[in-house]
Symmetry: none
Subunit: 185 residues, 2 copies
Amino acid sequence: MSETEAIKLFKCLADRSRLQILKSLVKEDMYVERLAGRLDLTPATISFHLKKLADAGAVTSYRSQYYTMYSLKRDVFLSRILDIICEESDEAALQARREAEYRQRVIDSFFEYGRLKSIPAQRKKERIILEEIAKSFQPGMVYTEREVNIIIADFHDDFCTIRRDMIGEGIMQRENGKYWLAKEK
Amino acid sequence: MSETEAIKLFKCLADRSRLQILKSLVKEDMYVERLAGRLDLTPATISFHLKKLADAGAVTSYRSQYYTMYSLKRDVFLSRILDIICEESDEAALQARREAEYRQRVIDSFFEYGRLKSIPAQRKKERIILEEIAKSFQPGMVYTEREVNIIIADFHDDFCTIRRDMIGEGIMQRENGKYWLAKEK
DNA sequence: TTTATAATTAGATGAATATCTAAATAAATA
DNA sequence: TATTTATTTAGATATTCATCTAATTATAAA
């Protein structure tokens, strides 16, 4: 679903009358006049809304005797909002997103107000946290140990452990007491 | 989530700028000016949108150094549209709606083009039909038997049966050959 | 405390749109 | 084919709302 289509769909859902129509159609198919009676609106108004809903792919219609019956397109309503927003159905992008989501959850749970609440015990999680902290260092720039400590201390009092683990994980490199960010592999 | 809240949320999602903001926040938390740069909009406009998003429960914010960081409320985005639409509606209203729907189905199936196809055998259904026909009489007005017959004959040829049953059900009252609608109990 | 910067608010404007009435169209029955 | 009934379209109106500029407030650093 393209962004334009998503907006069209959400616009449809963002109106009380149309929501009422959809709620009615969840239970059974209905025709214009009946909906007009239930919602206390003019058939013209109902017709106007149904056209929008159809245009957004939310409903379809078929004729039955005198009436044009309108019917919910159920699959549309089973999708998650997140999936609609991030329409990259490309598998790679999807994976990247899941990965990013996971990282964000880890970061959210260990940081509070910009500070690290505790150092994760799991290596995978600590790695994520260390990479997050590494964003405070500039690529290419060389730091003294004292400078490194000061920057890390902004996040957590135990800057020694964090500094050591950053070296251990290969996120930073050290030589002759000087520190710098490792190049991305 | 109430209907009003659902509409508020969908309204938020129904705008290109806000969708872009959300797409940015899916990846990482951001602050106003950075978003303004990415979307090529004024900080004032971004602020306006973020306020709406926050009000709809789609994002939260926290301060970090100079900035107010905005963050996606992920759980909201993991819900399905159908769940959001069907969620509210207290039980009483739901029952009332079911009742109204049932009445409508009965009416739909026994009437055709404004005329009664047959008189329902089930007492419960006949009552609904009689009440529907009763809508053609004005409350407080007094009718002769002839006038009553003419009005009922519009719906069905056997106006005698219908007239008698309306008295029997207490929907109309009679005295000295004059008829009128019974008061609602 | 002063200063710099980020964020919000207020007011203005133009565009979109939900709803109605009245008229036109489409479809089913007689 | 003529007539009835359901649905859609057209035109009008009032409201909502996205966006900007300018001014104000809030916060961090010096």
